[in-house]
């Protein structure tokens, strides 16, 4: 597929290749569509990549790397940045010595997500500069630029992608990129990195001054391009929306923005003044149009109906024509479903039979909400099954409270479910509670990534393993059970019935490897055993 340095790559792969070429010391993150392939590709290309238990930890690890002068990459889907928001907001104050590039892969149109939040708002809210590539070539170039600019301004950069950039393959010309100039080292600088109020107040002022300098620099940045065309129509746009707009209006003039926070407002003002009609074409929230109008620049935005879902050539044509007539409804395809033979099926068969109130979570098993089960009552965000289940238990009448069950997958449990168990032990509901971990030994939904509960690294090599049952015992949960619901569904039913009736705290680990990957897991375990035997130790 390679033609010298020209290759057909997805946007995700292009980010990984640029990170490799720029000498990134560590890539970390948590799997999430459409970002997952970045770290997998980085490892495949020969870089150092690892999964963190969640996005908050990943950003913290990467910030530590960047405090040493080394270059770090963090990847996540859009909702992952909610989890990582705490370090994200203060990392802009501390800044970094090396490079820190945080990739947020947004999912307009909800291809595989629980919301369609627009993370450009995060750049503005946290004061973190942001680049937005529109295709894989720009994903490569902008990753390289983000690394360079992050080091130059000593501030984290947000690389905001969308599904159609992450998962579209386009031709990428790679090149030799500037390498890190210093070896990782540590210098004490507590006034810059210890954010007590006395040091954080001046840090905030430093941040705003830095952003003002960056905004001035961005006025002439090559990352924002004017494509001269017919002056009767000017389009201000960014990301994949630029590509659709260029085909919808090939003769128009374009201001194609790549560096979208802080915005090059004077460049935008000059462009808007140079054309007769100026329209902002952006996917998702009216982020650009609001900022541009707030600067007193008259531009047209899109009608509210186009905030929802992805843009495409057809929709951009409609926006430019001012067409707000109803769009043809999408033809419904075949929804995904739990695989035939999946052990989750036994669990949902039972929860439906027992008429449970099911507090669910994020993963393959969320498909338990669809027919034939329709056996899930809530699903909000990673880990929420435990807390929401407890809340329901606290106030429902006892006969209803006793039907509440929290259902969470193994990777999701490690990501955000553990603190829910701590809450359960600390504030137990009067009727007790039942938490079922659906442990299929992998992060199945995103394509079978490892996690701390599997005891294998991103590259499937043996490492430390978190035992859910030992964790449950050590937290003081009265009843901890490990069972395989598919092996003996009747025994599983007796167990769940007992737990629902006992008014105690119950953790049921329903363990059976995902059938799509059971064979591979056996291979990994065999390889690990062989390594252990060669070293003369126990597996």
């Amino acid at each position: 597929m390679t033609d010298s340095n020209r290759t057909l790559l997805s946007g995700d792969e292009a980010v990984a290749l640029a990170a490799l070429h720029a000498g990134v010391a560590l890539g970390t993150g948590y799997p999430g569509t459409p970002s997952t392939e970045i770290l997998e590709a980085l490892a495949e290309f020969g870089g150092r990549a690892q999964w963190a238990p969640n996005e908050k930890v990943a950003v913290e690890v990467a910030l530590g790397v960047a405090f040493t002068g080394a270059r770090a990459l963090v990847t996540m889907k859009h909702v992952g940045l909610n989890v990582a928001a705490d370090p994200f907001f203060t990392a802009s104050y501390t800044g970094c010595d090396g490079a820190l590039v945080i990739v947020s892969a947004d999912d307009p149109g909800l291809g595989s997500s629980q919301n369609e939040q627009d993370n450009r708002r995060y750049a503005l809210a946290a004061g973190v500069p942001m680049l937005e590539p529109s295709d894989a070539q720009e994903a490569y170039d902008f990753t390289a630029a983000a690394i360079e600019l992050s080091e130059r301004w000593k501030i984290p950069f947000l690389l905001r992608m969308v599904t159609r950039v992450c998962h579209s393959r386009t031709i990428v010309a790679s090149r030799a990129l500037p390498q890190p100039t210093v070896a990782p080292h540590f210098e004490h600088d507590y006034k810059a990195r210890v954010m007590i109020p006395a040091y954080a107040r001046p840090a905030h002022r430093r941040l705003r001054a830095k952003l003002a300098e960056i905004a001035a620099w961005n006025e002439s940045s090559p990352l924002n391009r004017v494509i001269a065309g017919d002056q009767s129509l000017g389009i201000i746009t960014s990301s994949a929306a630029y590509l659709h707009a260029h085909e919808a209006a090939p003769t128009a003039s374009f201001l194609k923005l790549g560096f979208t926070y802080p915005l090059p407002i004077e460049k935008i003002r000059a462009f808007a003044a140079s054309v007769k009609r100026c329209v902002v074409i952006e996917e998702g929230d009216p982020y650009l149009v609001e900022a541009i109008r707030a600067a007193g620049i008259p531009v047209e935005g899109k009608p509210e109906m186009y905030r929802f879902g992805e843009l495409n050539i057809t929709r951009v044509r409609r926006i430019l024509a001012g067409d707000t007539s109803p769009e043809p409804p999408p033809v419904p395809g075949k929804p995904p479903q739990l695989c035939q033979g999946c052990s989750h099926r036994y669990v949902f068969d039972l929860l439906k039979k027992l008429d449970c109130i099911v507090s669910g979570d994020i993963g393959c098993y969320t498909l338990g909400v669809l027919p034939p089960w329709e056996a899930m009552d809530t699903c909000v965000c990673m880990g929420a099954s435990v807390g929401i289940g407890l809340g329901l238990r606290h106030v429902l009448p006892p006969e209803q409270a006793r039907r509440v069950v929290s259902v969470i997958g193994d990777s999701t449990f490690v990501h955000s479910g553990i603190t829910g168990l701590v809450e359960m032990v600390y504030n137990p509901p009067p009727t007790g509670h039942v938490v079922i971990i659906l442990d299929n030994g992998t992060t199945a939904m995103t394509g079978h990534q490892e996690h701390p509960g599997t005891g294998r690294t991103l590259e499937h090599e043996q490492t430390g393993k978190i035992s859910f049952e030992e964790l449950g015992h050590s937290l003081g949960i009265q009843n901890v059970f490990v069972t395989d619901p598919a092996l003996d569904p009747e025994a599983f039913e007796r167990l769940v019935r007992d737990c629902l009736a006992n008014n105690q705290l119950n953790l049921i680990i329903a363990r059976r490897p995902c059938l799509l990957i059971a064979g591979k897991i056996k291979e990994y375990e065999r390889a690990a055993n062989q390594t252990c035997a060669a070293l003369g130790g126990q597996p």
């Binding site: 569509t33 291809g111 595989s112 159609r164 393959r169 386009t170 659709h244 057809t314 995904p336 199945a444």
Partner: protein, 158 residues
């Protein structure tokens, strides 16, 4: 070189090799010197749901997505996905359905997607040797023979 962009959509269900087939088309077009963009939505595709991928190639391609109703070629791997995707095809466009292939003639049933690419290849100006290179790059060596057989079956017509 023809400046017109060629628009192809491959559709089917998760697990049928839709994305693999699309990758082969994109790679073959790239090897011929075209600008290429291939786009897909595959977040939940592993669970048997609808999957489709757009491939666009030509002198210069901007959007990675085929405009609604403008596909020149629609390749559908699953019969029940034909009606779901028919609106994507332009007037006069070519629809390639599973009926184009007799699965009993395949060395390996899993190569059905590549057999349909053989049918598609009859309409595209891409040399057979380039298709072979792209197929070779997409599969491990032990699957090459079965996929070449499937491609040849589709290309010669049944």
């Amino acid at each position: 070189m023809n400046h017109r962009v060629t628009n192809i959509i491959i559709a089917g269900l998760g697990g049928q090799g839709v994305l693999t087939a699309a990758g082969i088309v994109a790679d073959a077009a790239f090897r011929c010197g075209h600008d290429v963009k291939q786009s897909e939505l595959h977040g939940m595709s592993q669970r048997g749901g609808s999957v489709s991928s757009d491939i666009r190639y030509g002198h210069k391609v901007f959007s990675p997505m085929v405009p609604t109703g403008e596909a020149d070629f629609l390749v559908v791997v699953a019969t029940d996905q034909i009606e779901v995707n028919r609106h994507q095809l332009r007037h006069g466009g070519v629809l390639i359905t599973p009926d184009a292939i007799d699965p009993s003639k395949l060395t390996n049933k899993k190569s059905f997607n590549v057999a349909q690419l053989g049918v598609l290849s009859r309409h595209l100006d891409i040399p057979e040797s380039v298709w072979h290179d792209a197929i070779r790059a997409a599969f491990p060596e032990k699957l090459h023979a079965a996929n070449f057989q499937a491609f040849a079956l589709g290309r010669k017509g049944t």
